[in-house]
Symmetry: C2
Amino acid sequence: VTARGVDDRKTVGEALAWIDASVRELAPETVDLAGAVGRVLANDVAAAIDVPPFDRAAIDGIALRADETIGAGPYNPLSFRLASSAEALPTAAAVRVSAGDPLPRAADAVASLDRVQIDDAAGTCEVVDALAPGSGIERTGDHAARGAALLTRARRLHPGDIGALAAAGIARVPVVRRPAACVVQIGTGFAERGAPLRPGLVYETNGLLLEALIERDGGSVVGALRVDRDRMALRDALSRVGGDIVFVVGGTGRGPRDTAAEALAAAGELALHGVALRPCETAGMGQTAAGTPVFLLPGAPPACFWAYEFFGGRALRRMAGRDPAPPYPRRELASARKIVSEIGVAEVCPVRRLADGRVEPIPGFAESGIAAMARADGFVVVPEGSEGFAQGAMLTAYLFGGNSRE
Amino acid sequence: VTARGVDDRKTVGEALAWIDASVRELAPETVDLAGAVGRVLANDVAAAIDVPPFDRAAIDGIALRADETIGAGPYNPLSFRLASSAEALPTAAAVRVSAGDPLPRAADAVASLDRVQIDDAAGTCEVVDALAPGSGIERTGDHAARGAALLTRARRLHPGDIGALAAAGIARVPVVRRPAACVVQIGTGFAERGAPLRPGLVYETNGLLLEALIERDGGSVVGALRVDRDRMALRDALSRVGGDIVFVVGGTGRGPRDTAAEALAAAGELALHGVALRPCETAGMGQTAAGTPVFLLPGAPPACFWAYEFFGGRALRRMAGRDPAPPYPRRELASARKIVSEIGVAEVCPVRRLADGRVEPIPGFAESGIAAMARADGFVVVPEGSEGFAQGAMLTAYLFGGNSRE
């Protein structure tokens, strides 16, 4: 790293290849089902019990012996005595059951309430259908036999899965451990939110931003520290930090006090500094002497955001067992305007969605900082080999899903 | 409600209309920015300070007076003395700055390091461009002026928004209050997860399922109770419950001990019992005497799940200020098989996605319970006026986003 700085920059593809070769899914841990929503299964899970665990009524109706309904029909209703006990069924008797009730012993079918006439006063009911054995009931293990495959590894558990696991007798599940992240911020010119802003300070932004991103991606921030703009201070911090992954924010550029890359090289390995992706050209990556991956994120908040989404976050999501791509829904949408980009550098271009569904770039994004991101509905990426998109071209937009009521 | 039960069933459209007319967004509350990800803005938010709060360097480079660069060019490099202080700029001097540094007083441009030659030994640098005033710098308030609109109400805050708000000096934000939900389960035949399963019991499923769903939708479960299958017990419970919304699980059907609808009618108002949506035809809705919305969800876990997603969850999401539709990404996909459905009743049909991107229905879903949902990648809804879809037809699939690595 010279005074001229980041001249040896790599392509986005080279950066992603380094990440994918360097970072692996973390080991499993076992968690209670109640806290498992959104976690990623580390192993296949099989049913611990038969589901259902006993023969039961599948519908509301009357339970009876199917062979006693032979010959029943609209012109030949058969009468059954209504028994009150659900334990065992006498001959020529029927028992009212609700869906889910255990089937009385000796019963092998349930007639729907729609298809029977109940005479409560007489204690009888009439059946007009000949029922096949098994109709209207669920046998032990019908939904899932004990030991049968239920969910496969790599599945991110959604609420319905939690229900399926609970029903199958699973109390705890093996999931990929949450990546523990350390955030190291370089510099001292920050005011804490809520405090008055003294001259020359800016409000602390990147720490809060990264914590929100890391938690969204299934990680947790276990350490947050600030170090001065000093190579030795950062090198020492990098040799002390714990956790599974480290994010260093600030000091990545070519200014007089930008020493993040030098410090990482001194504390372990600087694999790559400088990526042909605007606006995070000064991002870098490497590892500590102990082998913990370290990502250097630019200090300007939009650049920090994108460097996380494309590089640091990719590593964290891989560790968490998630899809490594930026976690936004993708849609093929038409561009309402021409989008211009320089050849040789890929570019993240925040866009707004118009009422007609097309997208248009947010003008002057690079100049207008993170506040402009609040006006964006999503973004497109112009690849490094492209000069941009013509008006009307179809492009892949990543959508923030910002407005809750569309 | 007669022994025959739910004959007066309503269409899905009628049920949704009752919900939309009965349930409103909750009042705002103010929360710290650190806990605001995923919350919905209750009011517009303006920048509390100018962003940036002072004139600063936008790039790494040297700060100087633009008018002193007039005449500079590749064949006429102009030399500047490198000053060390960043406080105020002497004439014919330049100061090295990093992006984000306050601009030295009297400087009005920053030349990029790419375009200058620095001679550290001599303490000078040469400039080969005539710079316009303002180039390479950001003026106070350039990104957002104090008081300027930043985010508009109804926006669901994503991590990038948190960064924008922090940078703009916002410490606390007005968001829609979290709906507080009460879950009342009817029946006693449940084993707790982890405990042995005694004969005739099933593992508790719906409580855990609903808690996961309610939290996903921005609510929280503030009360969970179990009542016997008894009309008076449930009526009493409904007159005691607190919170913004109540979910009653079980006892909605036509069996001998299904008294949820009667109990709600006695405790307040039963607006609707029975909806033409399979598999949750026995769902119901109404309100307590105090006006708290109550949803009756069937006890079979898949029916409970869908009745929540389409009806109870819709109400909760409206209260939370979110999009009321089931919160799954929608995709237009081709059906790999014919999907058959009965006219007169809408039907939720879980589907699997094939490797070629098409979807196929999960066979025998209605018979195979919640364990089958674990095999689904999403679902389609066959409207009540439709007999289903032909093979190859394009249909709107809601996707669970289950597998994390696709």
